[in-house]
């Protein structure tokens, strides 16, 4: 944390929780130490978004990032990894965008079984409670995502990377 410029000590990281709340829904919750408008800004501004959506630890890079963050706008993200020439594209549409409290988007890269993701930002005492819901069209769709190791285009890249590394390891 040597880049911390403020006078405060490095803050303890808030925990990220995940719960399967129903047969077809997963919910991720996280407190962010900042007001909702700033969290929203970091989410809805492509230049900022691409700096956190693909954490360095993943080894992935975001090759392109087109986001038209408004209701009925579209997005398209393309990822790459140094060990592969293949790129992976993730895309969909924003069904609803209400700054700075709510973004809803579709995940259309798979087939008809993609989840609809809703993220809400709820500010309290200068902090923001971030709640992200992945709602699958059916129990079968979520079970299938789990069985195949992918989830609405989020874990997929890491999964595929794992597979790739495993394949390289075993020389398959």
């Amino acid at each position: 944390m040597n880049e911390a410029e403020g006078s405060e000590a490095a803050p303890v990281k808030n925990s990220t929780k995940v719960e399967r709340t129903s047969e077809r829904e997963l919910v991720v919750t996280r407190i962010v130490n900042g007001p909702a408008r700033i969290v929203f800004q970091a989410w809805a501004t492509p230049e900022l978004f691409k700096r956190w959506w693909v954490p360095k630890s993943s080894g992935m890079s975001l090759l392109s990032c087109e986001m038209d963050v408004r209701t009925e706008g579209k997005y398209r993200l393309e990822f790459g990894h140094p060990s592969s020439e293949r790129t992976m594209a993730f895309f969909g549409r924003y069904l609803e965008v209400i700054p700075p409290t709510r973004i809803v988007w579709t995940n259309e890269e798979g087939d008809d079984d993609g989840a609809v993701t809703t993220v809400t930002f709820e500010e309290k005492d200068g902090q923001t409670l971030l709640v992200l819901r992945d709602l699958y069209p059916s129990k079968a769709a979520l079970d299938e995502a789990i069985a195949s190791g992918s989830t609405s285009g989020f874990v997929e890249q890491f999964e595929q990377l794992d597979d790739l590394l495993l394949a390289l390891d075993t020389g398959v």
Partner: protein, 120 residues
């Protein structure tokens, strides 16, 4: 994870409270079987066996698969573990993202402070 596993535990205990269902699990531990096979073996009607299998399936102990006209049952014990492991991986992806998001948020906050000061 605790909130996630709890309802599964309740369902698990309920499923295992019945001797027929425990017998079915024991049987499936030896070999996969159709609902008809199981009904015969436990001297039950097809409907009765379907109900028991349904409870076991709901609790994740059994998975069933319909091939043609036959529904085959097999042990599904690994299912819960697989799902829990998958959810943990999913959680880690979000954790890594949100930890990175924190840095951007800190940066934007301090930028705002500087702007406020310069507007002073």
């Amino acid at each position: 994870m605790v909130q996630y596993i709890q309802p599964h535990l309740d369902a698990s205990f309920a499923a295992l409270s019945d001797p027929t269902r425990r017998g079915v699990l024991e049987q499936l531990g030896r070999a996969d079987a159709s609902i008809t096979d199981l009904a015969d073996r436990f001297h039950m009607t097809l409907t009765g066996m379907k109900k028991h299998v349904g409870v076991l399936e709901q609790a994740g102990f059994v998975i069933t698969e319909k091939i043609g006209r036959v529904r085959t049952c097999k042990l599904g014990l690994r299912r819960l573990e697989e799902e829990a492991a998958w959810i943990e991986r999913y959680r880690r992806v979000w954790e890594a993202r949100f930890d990175a998001l924190d840095e951007i948020v800190e940066e934007l906050k301090s930028r705002e402070k500087i702007d406020e000061r310069s507007r002073g």
